[in-house]
Amino acid sequence: MEITIALAGNPNSGKTTLFNALTGSSQRVGNWPGVTVDKKVGKLKKYKDVAVIDLPGVYSLSPYTLEEVVSRDFLINEKPDAVINLVDGTNIERNLFLTTQLLDVGIPVVVALNMMDAVKKAGDRIDTEKLSGLLGCPVAEISALRGDGLSDLARIAVETAQAQSKTTKSAEASLAAAPAVSGGRFSEPTETALRALAELIRAYTSPETRRWYAIKLFERDEKALALLGLPATVAAEAEGLIALCEETLDDSSESIITGEAYVYVSRITDACVEKVQVEMSASDKIDAIVTNRWLGIPVFVAAMFVVYFVSVTTVGTFVTDFTNDMVIGGGIQAPLAEFLLSVGTAEWLTGLVVDGIVGGVGAVVGFLPQLLILFFFLAILEDCGYMARVAFLMDRVFRKFGLSGKSFIPLLIGTGCGVPGIMAARTIEQRRDRRMTIITTTFMPCGAKLPMIALIAGALLQNAWWVAPSAYFLGFASVVVTGVMLKKTKPFAGDPAPFVMELPPYHFPTASNIGHSMLERASAFAKKAATVYTLASILVWFASSFGFDGDGAFGMAQDLNSSVLYYIGNSFAWIFSPLGFGDWQPAVASVMGLAAKEDVVAVFGILTSIGDADAAFSLAETADMAALAPVAALFSGPLAAYAFLAFNLLCAPCFAAMNTIRQEMRNPRWTLAAIGYECGFAYVVALLIYQFGCFFGGRGFTAGTAAACVLLAALLFLMFRPAPKYKKEHPHAASHS
């Protein structure tokens, strides 16, 4: 028989670290609240048939955010055999508040007192035995990070779950005899009301869940009560009881429950916890600097500079050049071609392998070191605890154009990869803010777009230093413009959600977390290289190498201009003419970029190496204009190339990211709207860049310039018109999807 054990606890209490340690998997962890946004399932190591479920972190079981809904629904509807409640020992009072609620759900609870190493280091003392006695459930001391106490915890949890499944059977047998409620956690008037409510709903609940539902009924929790379906007469009687208690205690029923639960928790902590009083912790001292009114923003700018400048331009490029130069360019393509021909491989097959697969995939693989360096820095940012401070710092700024500081985290993660970036938007409570963040996250140049930026900068813009920073600036400006514009439309109107966020204590990034994060990236990249890039490269190679000759016979194409791809590309290349890159090659590259953004570079890699068999294309010297001349030849000039870059940075992301948008929007119309908006916005921006560039470059006023003027005027109007008044949406309706 299978046993299910759920992991529940406050956000950032280390559930995912524990989950990874218990199950041997490698889920994403980070040091800010809300990293886990969906439940994850794994198998407990060394035990048969024990499933462990990692639930998103919650502060309480009253659903306020999406994660809380996920956690609560799982506990109530799926009824796991036991819950391991992870309690952060360094912050025990707030964590035990959730514990009191879990104890009431009616599922056996095992408290795992985490971060005990930090507790001991601080000189604090927790009497675990006493705590266990007072809570009425087993308590195990662990350190999930260091792996202390985990086998004991696993054993206790499994035993508790097994004991539970036995008692459930006997409880079912003698349902009528079961006691109505347990515990006496709250004040006397509250407990009296709860007992009466439990009696009222006796016929509608099972003994284990009765107290939970009585409390929810007392709190007037509509979502929980919808599950019960109480008749109107019972509901009215309950309302009378609640109102009476509210009058006695002179407070609203929810506040009574929360307040009294905290009183109960302080009684427990007073009895079992000894804390050393510290004036100012190390975290507070760091915060005094990084969230300082004057220093906060400069520190943030410096941190960003280090992350992006170093990984994109200096160290990253150095390593990437080395890989391209030594490993792929000279090291593989030329010798491989020689070898294949010498063993009598057909010429077309040699072409497929050397030009198609190695040329296409290789053009991309060369960027792996650079990406890994970027991910290394992002992993440190995520792990150390700075992320939540950045959200705090940016909140004032973001509020000016209608987003809250929480939207900054998805954008920052999106600079690594759009998929986790979009998923990180789930911590945003308000639906309209969440949607806007999902739409704008992929405007930020992700890691996969870096090769494209480097290629265009190297081939047409003399490797100008400003190209990469301008890509980030363009992405961020697009987020701002979109925010300002969409806030004035009906679906997005209204104030951004209030900003409330827990700031985790700083800790040194652990090597294992960073290693995991980079390894995960590298393996995802390898998988993509083996599948998407290879497939796309083969496809592009075939389509560009075969075609119809003069007589209309199908075969190896004489040159690219009689290839199949030429005809396909030309059929839609006109769409991009107003943007300055109406040739078929860039058009094909843009479309292939939908499979994966790296494919944009792969397409150029293939198309240019076919034309020139000797000088197999490699990005070996991105600084060398001559080596990239074949790529430069595909564009009419630097302006068109930059417009191409702008379009491909901002337009619909890759399929993987589009699929994530679909999952997160949970609404086909919104998904289409998001992707359509991104493409439309990208088109307009690229058109403005190209047309105004041409005009100011002295090419005179053309129809294109006129169109650009009209579009710019429309854009400015949408940004600066006074916000129309919309009927105010009910705040509750907006907060959950």
């Binding site: 502060y59 309480s60 009253s62 508040f97 929360t258 905290y262 909140d395 004032r396 409330v500």
Partner: protein
């Protein structure tokens, strides 16, 4: 008075949270309940970092106005 009036480094005791909605419930579950001591760690144009129940919570100005100390 509202928590927003406290200055960096000052301490108060929570009296209650104004309003009746999800936000109130959320603030309470974070530890802003009557009787809880709270101190201001830092303040940035109205947004605050607070210390309550041994944790650091960042709040915007609107939220800080709703918590009475």
């Amino acid at each position: 008075m509202p928590l927003a009036f406290l200055k960096s480094g000052e301490t108060g005791v929570v009296k209650g949270v104004n309003g009746r909605d999800d936000t109130k419930r959320f603030l309470e579950s974070l530890g802003f309940v009557a009787g809880a001591p709270v101190s201001v760690i830092s303040e940035l144009s109205g947004n605050m970092i607070l210390s309550v129940k041994d944790t650091r919570i960042a709040l915007d100005r609107g939220m800080a106005r709703r918590i009475m100390v």
